[in-house]
Subunit: 227 residues, 2 copies
């Protein structure tokens, strides 16, 4: 099977990123009792091209759509969840129990995506004593390897400062972690076969800043309206 770094299971990375949006919208329809849905309808709702939606669906759907009616909403939700792996729980560990780390620990959304954070780790001994009202305990770093191996955890969430991010990732890989969600604003190198997903706020801000700069330059009057 051919598999460049831009494809997973033969589907393009971009398409993969669109799937949660479909799932999200379909779940909403489902909760409203809508039985069937068509590609053009999804496309219109999410502001996308209808052929693109159809192709994406064709990739994950287990049964064909009916001309004129479309697809069965419930079935499509099931297929999407199955394809995305949200139907069987993936356990994860989180390293770095600072402000952001603790916010993620309390973030209920992970469960919805089939991810359950079983434990958090931090070098700060004062944190490991407390619980912060989260169900998970915060352990000292020394326990990381033992816990990952015993529980066979494969997902690591990194919320440490940039300086220690690479070291933490190396450690996680050594502990058997296969996929890393990195929130540290720095470039990380991982061995082949380990998936690194950067959740970097800097990149997002880059897009925003460049866009704002452009619109400001094009419409200078917006800078000087008012006193």
């Amino acid at each position: 099977m051919r598999n460049s770094k831009n494809t997973v299971q033969g589907i393009s990375r971009q398409a993969l990123l669109r799937l949660p949006n479909y799932l999200n919208y379909l779940k909403k329809l489902q909760s409203e009792g809508v039985q069937t849905v068509s590609a053009p309808k999804i496309a219109a709702a999410l502001g996308q091209n209808e052929v693109q939606v159809r192709k994406d669906i064709a990739f994950v759907s287990s049964c064909a759509g009916k001309p004129k009616t479309g697809f069965d909403t419930t079935q499509l939700v099931r297929d999407l969840e199955s394809f995305l792996g949200y139907d069987n729980v993936n356990e994860a560990v989180l390293v770095g129990a600072g402000q952001l780390g603790r916010a993620l620990l309390n973030y209920k959304g992970f469960a919805e995506y089939g991810v359950h954070i079983v434990a958090a780790f931090d070098t700060d001994e004062t944190l490991t004593a407390q619980t912060f009202g989260t169900e998970q305990r915060i352990f000292p770093m020394e326990k990381l390897e033992d816990l990952c191996e015993r529980m066979r955890i494969h997902i690591g969430i990194v919320t440490v400062p940039a300086e220690s991010a690479q070291a933490v990732c190396d450690k996680l890989v050594a502990c058997g972690i296969r996929a890393i969600l990195n929130f540290a604003p720095t470039h990380i190198t991982v061995p082949q076969g380990i998936l690194l997903q950067n959740e970097n706020i800097a990149s997002s801000l880059a897009v925003l800043s460049a866009h704002l700069k452009k619109t400001m330059t094009n419409n200078p009057e917006t800078r000087s309206k008012g006193d």
Copy 2:
């Protein structure tokens, strides 16, 4: 000037997302006292194609590189910051002072990218009374419009639950916001000309999950090692 939704200032969105990585690496070199840097060196450090790096640099750089030596590190850092707009501060408001919102309020990293959150807003009256040790105050939603207009804020950061995200974004747009950083895991529609940047954890997890699922299926022995 031609400008599809995939380009900003003529640079591709993908290229734009790479720029903060360059900046990050170059700043590290700068702090180590490295005077010049070449495209191949950057490419090797960040695991990218050297021609791609050169093209990206050509877009933002104010002066040409010297064959055999490369580029002046300091100058390149300056050019990148200038292009990304990190050199002049953009003020932002944050709506939704829940766990994640408060984490972002305390997140020092924003300043580095030229973004300063001036105030937070929430419907929860119990939150607006407290301060949470952050420098910013949390205001009731009613004050949003007045503050945005008076201070001419153009960036909005949305950290509300999915259900209220669309309403909040509409409100922000009405208040004169031009760019929205959306952390709510839902699809949002904005008028043309308003930039929406989704920071959706669901998408990241989709990539992770699909990847894990694939590797699990391909190497089933990894599921059953041990007892």
